[in-house]
């Protein structure tokens, strides 16, 4: 998904813009889903205080890390299989 900005002569600039915009959109969505998942997994929904506890904070750090790992595993599976989704 990395954008290539070193264009070979024949490539349309509009396409590159489109791809970059898509990649941003992809990352925004990745971020939003990740944030939602980690909120659900890590934060106590009784809201006894407005601060995140130490336990919640370290849970969040690990959760983000694990989400990226899952993202990577599935990305590899897909590019290895070359399956169209």
């Amino acid at each position: 998904m990395a954008a290539n900005t070193d264009l070979p002569p024949g490539v349309d600039k509009e396409q590159v813009f489109g791809m970059l915009a898509m990649e941003m959109e992809y990352k925004v969505e990745l971020f939003n889903r990740l944030a939602m998942a980690c909120f659900n997994k890590c934060v106590d929904k009784r809201y006894k205080e407005p601060e995140l506890t130490m336990g919640e904070n370290s849970c969040i750090d690990r959760c983000v890390s694990k989400y990226f790992l899952v993202n990577g595993i599935i990305g590899q599976m897909l590019s290895a299989g070359q399956r169209p989704m």
Binding site: M22, S58, K66, I74
Partner: protein
């Protein structure tokens, strides 16, 4: 997204078909992206529940791979059935 969504374009002149194809391709790219994000979300949610370490445990990894595999096979099967029923519905004489 499947080919059957292209139906109804035959009547258009070539240039317009190209333009429409570009719109469709953009929808497809966006859709693949969403599909990718949603399989990751789904398999993370179903397989990962332990946050005492920041690396994945072996059984979490296995679970994630099976989950993704199943999800993709499911999507393909749904895609086939969807296309069949969608084509059926698009044939005017049989639509009722």
């Amino acid at each position: 997204m499947d080919k059957s969504m292209l139906q109804g374009l035959d009547g258009l002149p070539e240039e317009d078909q190209r333009r429409m194809a570009a719109v469709i391709e953009q929808l497809q790219v966006r859709d693949s992206m969403r599909m990718y994000n949603s399989v990751v979300e789904r398999c993370f949610n179903d397989c990962v529940d332990n946050f005492t370490r920041k690396s994945l445990q072996k059984q979490e990894e296995t679970c994630v791979m099976r989950c993704a595999e199943k999800f993709l096979k499911h999507s393909m099967r749904v895609g086939l059935r969807f296309a069949e029923l969608n084509n059926l519905a698009a044939t005017p004489d049989q639509s009722n």
